[in-house]
């Protein structure tokens, strides 16, 4: 099943990168979301997958029953999801402001704000 996930990760990564290479700033934001999904799944997958069996300690036991899903990548991914959301929220509002201010969503036309012209 890791093989299947590897294919999925590659697909999400490629879609994310392709969108981030577009000139439209909204597509950039969508690509960013796909890219973070791909990254989260990577962390989740490389630690090894276990069907079912979440890492919970049943009543009367002192540790989860073997086999259990690895809790460590889950903790990492949980943090990543939340932070990713924070970044995305900021990006979206920034996109909106940029469009309001510059009047375009074409990133090729947003190159001279720092006065660097060639």
């Amino acid at each position: 099943m890791e093989t299947l996930m590897a294919i999925l990760i590659g697909g999400l990564f490629a879609s994310g990168i392709y969108l981030m290479l577009r000139r439209s700033i909204v597509k950039l934001a969508i690509g960013l979301v796909l890219l973070s999904q791909s990254a989260n799944l990577t962390i989740f997958t490389v630690a090894g997958l276990t069907r079912g069996n979440p890492p919970l300690v049943p009543e009367g036991e002192s540790m989860p029953l073997v086999p259990y899903a690895d809790p460590l990548p889950q903790a990492l991914v949980l943090t990543a999801i939340v932070i990713g959301f924070g970044v995305l929220a900021f990006t979206l509002v920034l996109v909106k402001r940029v469009y309001q201010t510059v009047g375009t969503d074409d990133m090729d036309e947003m190159r001279s704000t720092d006065g660097f012209k060639d």
Partner: protein, 771 residues
């Protein structure tokens, strides 16, 4: 302990200097001068010990793991330098107060110059070579700040940067040289390395060590071809020129050569290099000096010449030469410090430093003119001043040479003749003859300005007339330290009639004649100025311009402003650099093992992939966002399937919020348009596809390896017994790794503040619209 205080107190007082300036106003110079004065008195107490052949060490640990200690060593050589630094420093602190009286940045001046003084004391007293290097570089930095003191003038900034670049690059050579030296000699203290001279000189790295260390010394002490920064440094206020660029800092390189002489000196190569460069610098400096008409420029070039003399003498390396070096060092500091201060006083009082418009100041400035005359006579080497003894010793040392004695002697005599001329031009000419019209009407300077030249002049006179005052007590330990063995030093003003005396007489006689014809000399030598276009300063300017060009060009290429090209670069570099190790070391089961995949897993993955493709191909914004939502929920389903309910819950919440946010924002954005060419779309697709393939391969390889299983196991085992939580993931987040979660909260809070600020932000366009 006392040494440490003596060195570091300068830094502390420096920090307080701006406040002291505010409290004491114009009298601050007299207050601050107390610090170098007390350091001088403290240093004088070392004389009896050192005269008996002893030395004092003090060390505390700094970074012991790297063999770096704050260790100090007071021997004869260090003491002579330290006395010059603190003694002349006392006079300069006074002088600076008078010279910059009422300057709105007087506090900053004292801050810099005290830091410089402390660094310089550190240079000459440090025993650990890394500590030495740190102080050595600090003097370059403080010199940079002081040259650029008048930072509104572009000339000052240019000169400051030039000095910093030249001495700073030399410093890098020095650091490498010192580290190699420590490796070769097996020690990190000068006092240890000096006993390893034989080992070091036979070491395979001896030649690189020598050249690297000399790279630091030659740049710092303005030896040809690095001499050009020193006249530029005259952009600094005159007290700084008098202190840093004649009496002390530029001698740090000379100090280094003297300090290292018993360790790596004395070989044929060492002698050849030092004598060649020293003699060239001595001659060129004096030659360039007589062309100048600006008092400070004249003095700056003669300083270059004197530094060449010192290098030459250390290179010759005989007992006489080292004796000459130490004596000439003191001689030069005394007269050059005085003449610089006089030049500053003249500038301060008349408003000009151009010798062509100066004259007849002796009536207006009688006290200053006495200080100037004594210093000039010492520079010219007239008995009974100390300069005479110095010059006799220089000639004796030169005549002692085995080879090329005649050539070097001629160089020395010619340079000294030119020195006599410059002494006359700078110390005598402004004060004699007709009174001339100057921009300001001159009158006698305040005491703070003439005390310095007077004290230094008196010292030149006293130790010149009675050299026994310092010969065995101060000079002998110093020469012995440079020689690395005891050397007897007795100085006489009268040697009887010998070759040196005859050379001295010739020098002065010809010097006086040339002084009379100085205008013709200036116009003749000016003809050679065209050669400057090929000189090291021009090369420096070209190099700098080239660097600017390179920086501009590469910025245009790399920082081209197209985000997607940055992306392209990153992805291409990633793919290219990952492919090889992946192929070479990775264990890829390309066939993949899909036999254990269940049908519903196929379905979920297919839905997610199709939605991703839909997001890519969508023509409408809403369709793209909807596809994005499906991807998110699909991924959440995958989390559920593989035992991560917490992730799934979070993912579903976040995905919902994301979709809502997108819809809210998209409402205000334009429709999607196809902006790119077909060609670039295909290129991007290929690159993105390659990147995706790489990720797939990476996951396949990496998921075959298991790293540090014990960490996960620890958390699972300890979750309930230690943290009393049954949900291991939650326990990790809020207990084991609570600080990380706290950091995450901060990130979210910052993002939230950012969002709020962006929404509230009103740019000037908005405001103008409202009007």
């Amino acid at each position: 302990m006392g040494i440490l205080v003596a060195v570091l107190s300068g830094f502390l007082v420096a920090l307080a200097a701006p406040w002291l300036t505010r409290w004491f106003g114009d009298r601050v110079g007299w207050v601050i001068a107390l610090l170098p004065l007390s350091i001088t008195i403290y240093l004088l107490t070392f004389i009896p010990d050192l005269a008996d052949g002893g030395s004092v060490r003090y060390s505390i640990e700094w970074i012991p793991a790297l063999n770096i200690n704050l260790s100090f060593h007071v021997d004869g050589l260090g003491l002579v330098f330290a006395l010059l630094i603190s003694g002349i420093g006392t006079l300069i602190m006074l002088y600076g107060g008078g010279y910059l009286q009422g300057h709105h940045q007087l506090g900053r001046f004292y801050l810099y110059i005290l830091m410089f003084m402390a660094s310089m004391l550190g240079v000459v007293l440090a025993d650990n070579i890394i500590t030495f290097f740190v102080f050595f570089e600090l003097t370059s930095l403080t010199s940079y700040l002081l040259i650029g003191f008048d930072h509104n003038a572009s000339k000052s900034r240019y000169s400051a940067r030039q000095a910093l670049l030249v001495t700073g690059i030399g410093g890098q050579f020095l650091l490498v040289g010192l580290i190699l030296l420590a490796i070769a000699g097996g020690g990190w203290e000068f006092s240890v390395l000096v006993d390893q001279a034989d080992v070091i000189q036979d070491h395979a790295l001896y030649v690189p060590i020598m050249f690297l260390i000399l790279g630091g010394a030659f740049t710092k002490s303005a030896q040809v071809p690095f001499h050009f920064w020193l006249p530029g440094a005259m952009a600094a206020p005159t007290p700084v020129s008098a202190y840093l660029h004649s009496a002390t800092m530029v001698k740090a390189g000379v100090y280094l050569m003297a300090r290292i002489n018993p360790t790596i000196g004395g070989t044929d190569l060492w002698q050849f290099v030092l004598v060649t460069f020293g003699a060239a610098t001595m001659l060129l400096g004096a030659y360039l000096a007589v062309q100048r008409t600006d008092l400070k420029q004249l003095l700056a070039y003669t300083t270059v010449s004197s530094l060449g003399t010192l290098t030459l003498l250390i290179g010759i390396g005989t007992d006489v030469a080292l004796k000459a070096a130490m004596v000439f060092l003191v001689v030069h500091s005394l007269y050059k410090g005085a003449l610089f201060m006089v030049a500053g006083t003249i500038d301060h009082e008349t408003g000009t430093r151009d010798i062509r418009v100066l004259g007849g100041l002796r009536k207006l400035m009688p006290i200053t003119s006495i200080g100037a005359a004594v210093a000039a006579l010492s520079m010219a080497g007239i008995p009974p001043l100390f300069g005479f003894i110095g010059k006799e010793l220089v000639y004796e040392a030169v005549l002692d040479l085995d080879t090329f004695a005649i050539i070097i002697a001629v160089v020395a005599v010619v340079s000294n003749i030119l020195m006599v001329v410059v002494a006359g031009i700078t110390g005598i000419q402004p004060f004699i003859g007709e009174e001339k019209e100057t921009p300001k009407h001159a009158h006698e300077a305040p005491a703070s300005l003439y005390i310095g030249p007077l004290v230094l002049g008196t010292l030149s006179l006293v130790v010149g007339a009675i050299p026994a005052l310092i010969d065995t007590s101060i000079m002998e330990p110093a020469v012995s330290a440079v020689a690395g063995q005891p050397v007897e030093v007795t100085l006489y003003i009268w040697h009887g009639v010998n070759a040196m005396l005859i050379m001295s007489i010739i020098t002065v006689a010809v010097g006086v004649v040339v002084f009379m014809g100085r205008q013709q000399l200036r116009s003749v030598t000016n003809q050679t100025n065209l050669l400057a276009a090929l000189g090291p300063e021009a090369i420096y300017a070209h190099l700098l311009a080239g660097l600017d060009w390179l920086s501009r060009t590469q910025t245009k290429i790399i920082q081209n402003g197209y985000l997607r090209f940055y992306f392209l670069t990153i992805i291409v570099v990633l793919v290219v650099s990952a492919i090889y190790p992946l192929m070479a070391y990775g264990n890829i089961q390309l066939a993949g093992d899909l036999s254990d995949v269940r049908i519903y897993e196929w379905v979920v993955v297919a839905i997610v992939l199709m939605s991703a493709i839909m997001a890519v191909r969508a023509q409408s914004r809403l369709a793209a966002v909807a596809a994005l939502g499906i991807v998110g929920y699909g991924v959440a389903t995958i989390y559920i399937l593989y035992g991560a309910p917490d992730l799934a819950m979070t993912q579903i919440l976040v995905e919902t919020l994301t979709v809502i946010l997108f819809v809210l924002v998209l409402y205000r954005l334009p429709q999607f348009a196809t902006l790119s060419e077909r060609g670039s779309r295909i290129r991007d697709a290929i690159i993105a596809g390659t990147g995706g393939l790489l990720m797939t391969l990476l996951v396949l390889v990496v998921s075959n390896e298991r790293f540090y299983d014990s960490i996960s196991q620890f958390h699972a085992e300890e979750s309930y017994p230690s943290a009393f939580g049954r949900n291991v993931v939650n326990v990790i987040l809020v207990d084991f790794r609570a600080i990380d979660t706290f950091g995450e909260i901060i990130v979210l809070a910052v993002a939230g503040i950012g969002v709020y600020a962006l929404l509230r932000l009103r740019l000037w366009e908005d405001r103008s619209e409202e009007k």
